[in-house]
Structure formats: C-alpha cells, structure tokens
C-alpha cells in the first residue's frame, strides 16, 4: 500500500487537479476555500503552469473559458458568494460546450452570509447555476480522499462530455485534514480536442467557440442535442449505501452530512430501528433510480442537509412522494448533530407503513 499523506480537503482538490493535468488555475480569494488557491500559487510556477489571481470571480471564470477554449484543462474554485458571480460564465461555458472544473466550498448564505460550512448552494449547483437550459455534472465528496478522487474524475468527465463538472464541498470538508492515498490517481484519461482554438497552423479551417444562435430553430436543435448528451451522462448517477438491505428508514445525505448521518444510522440501530443510509455521490445526475428502489422496501425517508431543505425536493421527486420524507436540517453554517438525526429517524420509524 502506498504511503498516505495528510491533507486538507482544499489541498487534496488542488493536488488532484495537478495530477489530472490541470496547469491553468484562475481564482480569487474567499474563505473557506483559500488553501486551494494558495496551494496552486505555490505549485503551479514550479510546474510551468499558470496560477492567476483574477480581479474578480467573473474574470476568473472567463479566464477558464478562454483557457478551456484553447484546449487545456482549466479550473477555478470559490465559495458560495463567488459562485453567484461565476454563474454568468458557467452558462457561457455550457452554451459553448466547453469543459471546465469548478469547485464550490460552500459557506452559509444568502448574501455575504457567514464562513461556516453549508450546503445551501444545492439548488444553485443542480437547478439555477445560470440562465438558460443546461446542467453541470455535480460531484459531492464526503472525505478528503474523495475530494481527491472526484476532482480527478471531474476533469475526465468534463473533457469526455464537454461540460462543466463541479466539485461541491463545504467549509468543513475544505478545512478538515485526513489521510489521502494519492497513488490512487492512477492513469489519467485525456481526450483529443479538435474543436479547440490553437491557431489553424495552416492545417485546418478555423474553429469557433461561441454560444450565440439567433435562429430559434438552430438554438433549439443545439439544446436538444445537448440534452441527449445529458441523458448519456445520466448513467453516472451514483450512490454509496450503508445498511440499506433491510432498512425501514432510509436516510439520504451527501457530503459531510452523510458522515453525521452514518453515525446516526449506527445510533438508531442500537435503539432497534432498522435504519440505512443512501449517500448520493452525484447530485446531478441525481440518483433517482436508487431512491425509487429504496422506496420499494422502506416506509419512510429522512433527508439530512445543511440548508433549509433543497435536496429533499429531489428525494421527494424521485420517489414521487410515495413515502413520507422528513427533513432534518440546520442552516446558516450550523451543523446537524448525530442526536438530531437519530430523533428524526425515530420519528420516521413511528410512521405507519402505507
């Protein structure tokens, strides 16, 4: 076994990006993701890469747009308020079918909010990332190891499908330090980019990277085509399950909340409740099938998240509201306790089987 190294979540994302071949990082400081930018600032010059501190989040995402258009693996990272500013660029990236990796280390909102961990940007990531019809692939790690692993996967998926892949973490995952096995990076898959702007070099006709289509018929066709691609991406919907085989109460949680929920599942089992955990690893595509399958055997669901209740809607939609779904959440930077989740599981267990 390879030697593990201790890394903060933010640093693991940065190291993974470098190992995935990213040599162009454009950022802007914001707590609690700053270690990521600092790591890049330290490493990139030594690798002949670019760390550029942009004048704004808007500029940073547009630099990613330019670098991605030029065919290289490019990345930016921020925290919640910064993502609002990046929304414009994320829409243009989608409209131009450019690959990119964007990291959101979420903090409490709205507005300037706070700097404590949050999951209140779930809607932003999966629903309202920017104007127009489009999606990001949204990956939700729950350990520092996964911050590393999923960042590498994000680059591969982004290039494969020419989409933006987002790594959606939170302030706690960004700051927590855990052992990481970086040898798991393995072979990195790369993709040919014949569409990239590299100069014609006298060998081909010009390439154009553009999202403007004034003919409605043409734009509709392109959107339909893009959604065929999204349907293909749907097969990546993925979860991690814990004690679900006989579970009567299914807890659904992602990211750091899933770790709290796992403790709570163990706690509830000690109290005699058959609880299990489904942890979505992809938030978009959302693992609808896995939820639906769980609804066949469970009598109720508990959704744990650090928001006023956002993912809970996807759970309800996935199971077509066929089972009661109880929300157990904290907001504004507060973190649910194991006890609160256990109480919610007990409450769910008292519901009659319909």
């Amino acid at each position: 076994m390879a030697e593990k190294v201790l890394m903060k979540g933010n640093e693991a994302v940065a190291e993974a990006a470098i190992m995935a071949g990213c040599r162009h990082f454009f950022g802007y400081p914001i707590t609690p993701q700053t270690e990521l930018a600092a790591y890049m600032a330290k490493r990139m010059p030594k690798l002949g890469g670019t760390y550029l501190q942009a004048e704004s989040e808007i500029a940073a995402i547009n630099m990613v747009y330019g670098a991605s258009a030029a065919g290289v693996r490019a990345m930016t990272s921020s925290s919640s308020p910064g993502l609002s500013l990046k929304s414009e660029g994320l829409s243009y990236l989608a409209g131009s079918d450019l690959p990119a990796v964007v990291v959101n280390i979420q903090r409490g909102g709205p507005g300037l909010g706070g700097i404590r961990p949050s999951q209140a940007d779930y809607f932003h990531a999966t629903r309202s990332t920017g104007h127009g019809d489009f999606h990001l692939i949204v990956l939700a790690p729950n350990t520092v190891q996964e911050m590393f692993d999923l960042t590498i996967e994000a680059f591969e998926l982004a290039d494969k499908y020419r989409v933006t892949a987002m790594v959606l973490g939170d302030g706690m995952l960004g700051q927590v330090m855990e052992p990481v096995d970086i040898s798991r990076a393995g072979n990195i898959t790369t993709f040919a980019k014949d569409w990239a702007l590299t100069g014609t070099q006298g060998k081909r006709s010009k390439n154009i990277v553009n999202s403007l289509y004034l003919e409605a018929e043409e734009l509709e066709m392109l959107n339909l085509k893009r959604y065929e691609k999204y349907a293909e991406v749907g097969k990546y919907a993925r979860t991690d399950s814990y004690l679900t085989e006989d579970a009567e109460v299914i807890v659904v949680a992602y990211g750091i909340c899933a770790r709290i929920a796992k403790n709570a599942v163990n706690g509830a089992r000690k109290k005699g409740v058959k609880a299990g955990l489904i942890r979505p690893i992809t938030l978009w595509p959302f693992p609808k099938k896995q939820m639906k399958a769980a609804a066949a055997t469970a009598k109720a669901f508990v959704v744990v998240e650090m928001s006023m209740g956002q993912m809970v809607e996807d759970v309800e939609l996935s199971i077509r509201c066929s089972r009661p779904v109880i929300l157990c959440s904290r907001t504004g930077g507060m973190v649910p306790t194991d006890e609160a989740v256990i109480s919610a599981i007990m409450e769910a267990d008292r519901t009659e089987r319909s």
């Binding site: 706690m172 330090m177 750091i256 770790r259 306790t337 194991d338």
Partner: protein
Amino acid sequence: MSVTHELMIAGFGGQGVLFAGKILVYAGLLAGKEVSWLPSYGPEMRGGTANINVMISDTMIGSPIVTNPTMLVAMNQPSLEKFEKDVKKDGIILIDSTLIPAQVKRADVKTCYIPATKLAEDKGLKGLANMIMVGKVTKELGVFDLEVVKAATSKSVPERKQDLLASNLRAIEIGFNYMEG
C-alpha cells in the same frame, strides 16, 4: 471492540493548538490509525479563540466533529469553561495550570494539571507549551509511542525551521515525563 479517541484541543489563537493537533494526527497516521483534524477558529488571525477536533480511531471515522470529547486539552480559562461539561464520562481533561487557575468541577473525569507555560519558560522553551501538552497527551492516550510522536514532529517541522526541531522534541519529552505532585 474498536476505540475512537475524540480530542478537543482549545486555547487562544497563536498558542499553537492547530499545530499540536497536527502532530497528534500525524502520529496516529504513522501508527496505522484512521485520523481526522478539523479546525474551528474565529475570524481573527491572532488572539481569538481556536480549537481543534482530532479523531484517532481503529476504524473509519464518521463525522470529524467532536462534540463530546474523550479528551479535552484546555490551554486557557475560556476553553475550560466552554468545554468542561461536554467531556464524556470517564474522559480526561488536561489543563495548562499556569494559565488556568480554576479547578475542574466534574468528579466523573480524570484530570491532569500541568504548568505547561511555566515549564516551557523555565526550560528555555518559551512558546512551546503546546508541545509539552502533546507529550502529555501521548502519555495519557497510550495509542502510540513517544518515538512515533517524535517522528511525526520531525516530518512536520518545515525545512527552514529545522533548528527549532530539537526544542520541540525536548518539549514533548518534558510533557511525556511530567509527574504531578
């Protein structure tokens, strides 16, 4: 039966509680344990409160948040006041008695009073009270040997500060060998 040690190390920013935590998780890693290190601090860079949640376990760590520590290391009075009640029954509270005049009120925990700040000053190790506490934590935990902590420290002290390594190691030894009374 798996054992999970949940440590809360708390003090003022600048006392080195984050670094102390780092040494302990590194030692845990070298000893083949699962570990996590989660900081919590105010917006101030210096002088504010700082605490660190450290987990050292035989099994995969669930939530890295320590709400009921098995061991509290209090480096100042506010930290003791804030976290004393949260410590698990039969847990341990380590106190820097130079900075904390108060006594622990609870009777259901083990307490250790170490004048870490004074010891550090007396031995010419000013500013290394945190490492004296690391030594004492090592002794009380019994999860890894002194040598493992020393190895972790050697790897954690940056290249440009290697001249400080010897004093850090000495501070750890002082804490490890300290006997009350």
